[in-house]
Amino acid sequence: MLVVLLLAGSVWLARVVSRDRFWRENASQLWRRRPIALITLALFVGIGLMDSIGWVGGGTPGDDDVAALRSRTLIDRLFQPERITESSYSAPLASVSFYGGQPLTHPGRHLLGTDILGRDVVYRTAKGVRVALLIGGFTSLIVIPIALLFGVSAGYFGKRIDDAVFFLMTVLASVPSLLLLIALVMVMGRGTLQVCVALGITGWVHFCRIARGETLKLREAEFVDAARALGVSDLTIIRRHVLPNIAHLIIITFALSFTGLVLAETILSYLGIGLEGSWGQMIDQARNELSRTPIIWWNLTGASLGLFALVLAVNMIADALRDIIDPRTRREGQ
């Protein structure tokens, strides 16, 4: 359901972007500069999507009733974890289990080995993709509208509204975000929605401040004055002049904070209150595994690779976006 929302959001975004001539001209630039990052991101999104489409039925014979009723996603069907789960650890591409040396059910097929419950690490990494994207995407879906609402109102209408929003922002910013995050999750419980909301509450201040700053600048712009002189109402001015001119900045900020959010969830998992099935959880488990001899490293590797690839891809895209946008605006100003 969340995914449907996200999909709807991205379709709307795609439509807005394709209509804006600026983006039409520059999308190809983005492709040219960072093809690998874009492909990586597309891959991740693909996996996340696959992991979101699931239905009940078609289980393996021998499942009990509960298992048969569980909805299984495309990723589940692809990997078929029930068939390939071992009893416990096994090294990557090994044919025997790590402790004890018993033969595996699927020797040589676990690219990154198996974890403590015998689950294939590649499978678990793939499952983590969806969680990571959810954290970044869904949270932003909550954060951006709220931050825009407060930030733009504060910047545009000024005076008391500005004072109130500023006060709110300062209060929230003075509480250490990590502690607030922990407290919120403790209070609300550990579900996906709750964690996203908690991340949203601690994260909107940054966005809001940027939106407010840009709006303040735009309010003094001569074309805004001209619009006021032409009798355009305030709301229309915001819709037509302010929002499009801060949209590019919001996009860049979104891309950059996406990674921050994913990493924040990792910390939460490390503390034991993150999302089920996330990479953070895998890293958390790795804590114990690393202290053993010989070291069990593949769990950590899987999660880290996933995290690294996603964060790097998004950051590079954000960087390229900023490069594309800035010189254009500079050139436009001539």
């Binding site: 712009a221 001569e222 002189a229 032409l230």
Partner: protein, 357 residues
């Protein structure tokens, strides 16, 4: 109450726009920038009234206050007999259609993310002119042709045009709502001389065609002399002299006007030697000098000039706010009397303007 001229388009009395200076954490007000500090003006239909002065004199603020882009802190504005300052923002809105502005910086005055068509049509959308989008597009095309721009270009973005072309777009945008009064706020100051000539010619044509009235705000006295019917000279928030252009240039009454005129370099190779007549620098509008604002720089000041606000001395075609104005008719009469006498007598006597050729 002052007496208003019956045929005036715009009357301004005692206009004040003060900007509070706040400092400290609690943002307490501890002073004010007196951008506009008691301005009286009358603009007659069909004329071009120039408002000149140097930076910081408040002329741009006057323009913005008239359009209520910034709210006046005192005084009254009448437009066609209606007191605009008493109106709420909503009630004022229809008047926005009648008064438009063309601004100085053609780059900043156009939203870089809107096409030219959307920019020019913006006012039409706001006031509901034109039955549908197509009609509005048609009007945009007509307007573009009128300002010598190819209508094919209406789907382009401002950054693809030159400064002069952008200024034409601004003019088209202002004309789209069919205003009666056009405020040109340094509309040609940022343009090269040859482009300025093109734009001035355009403005002249439009004025005759559409029977417009111009309030032309500028610091360029050469343009004023060519373009304006009457001129008001501003210094530090006040009008120090007002009169017909020829008279003001030929026989300036106020010492500041004299200094300003003396500072214009001539183009005549036989005449050279601009002698600066105003000493020192322009003071800050947040701390204007006492009495007559110009007295610290004035070559002919008296002792009383630093103590009392200078009275409004009526002239044949306007007034001058200097005690030493020649042909002053009375010896220090009451200010209120002078204001009434000035407004009811001086302007209408000379008639409004000569018809444009």
């Amino acid at each position: 109450m002052t007496v208003l001229s019956a045929d005036a388009l715009l009357e301004v009395r005692g206009l004040q726009t003060w900007f509070p200076i706040r400092s400290g954490v609690l943002r307490r007000v501890n002073g004010a920038v007196r951008a506009v500090d008691g301005v009286d003006l009358t603009v007659y239909p069909g004329e071009t009234l120039a408002l000149v002065g140097e930076s910081g004199c408040g002329k741009t603020t006057v323009g913005r206050t008239l359009l209520r882009l910034v709210e006046p802190t005192g005084g009254n504005i009448w437009f066609g007999g209606v007191n605009l300052t008493r109106l709420s923002r909503d009630a004022f809105r229809p008047y926005r259609q009648k008064m438009q502005i063309v601004m100085q910086d053609p780059g900043a005055a156009l939203d870089p993310r809107l096409t030219v068509r959307d920019t020019i049509a913006e006012g039409m959308d706001a006031f509901g002119l034109g039955a549908n989008a197509e009609q509005r597009t048609q009007r945009v095309a007509d307007l573009m042709r009128r300002v010598s721009l190819d209508p094919e270009l209406m789907w382009r973005y401002p950054h693809e045009f030159s400064g002069g072309q952008r200024q034409r777009i601004s003019i088209a945008r202002a004309l789209a709502v069919e205003p009666v009064l056009l405020i040109c706020d340094e509309a040609t100051s940022a343009l090269d001389v040859s482009i300025q000539a093109q734009i001035l010619n355009l403005l002249g044509e439009l004025k005759a065609e559409r029977k417009l009235t111009y309030l032309f705000i500028t610091h360029d006295l050469g343009v004023v002399r060519y373009f304006a019917d009457r001129v008001a000279v501003m210094y530090l928030g006040r009008i120090v002299e007002l009169g017909r252009t020829e008279r003001v240039f030929a026989e300036p009454a106020h010492p500041y006007t004299k200094a300003l005129l003396a500072s214009i370099p001539s183009l005549d190779p036989e005449r050279r030697g601009v002698k600066p007549m105003a000493l020192g620098d322009v003071p800050s509008p947040s701390r204007p000098p006492s009495g007559c604002h110009f007295h610290p720089r004035c070559a002919v000041r008296l002792a009383t000039c630093s103590r009392y606000d200078p009275p409004v001395m009526p002239l044949r075609d306007g007034f001058s706010r200097c005690v030493l104005t020649p042909d002053a008719e009375a010896s220090q009469p009451d200010r209120a009397d002078i204001a009434m006498a000035t407004s009811s007598k001086s302007y209408s006597a000379d008639g409004t303007t000569e018809p444009q050729p």
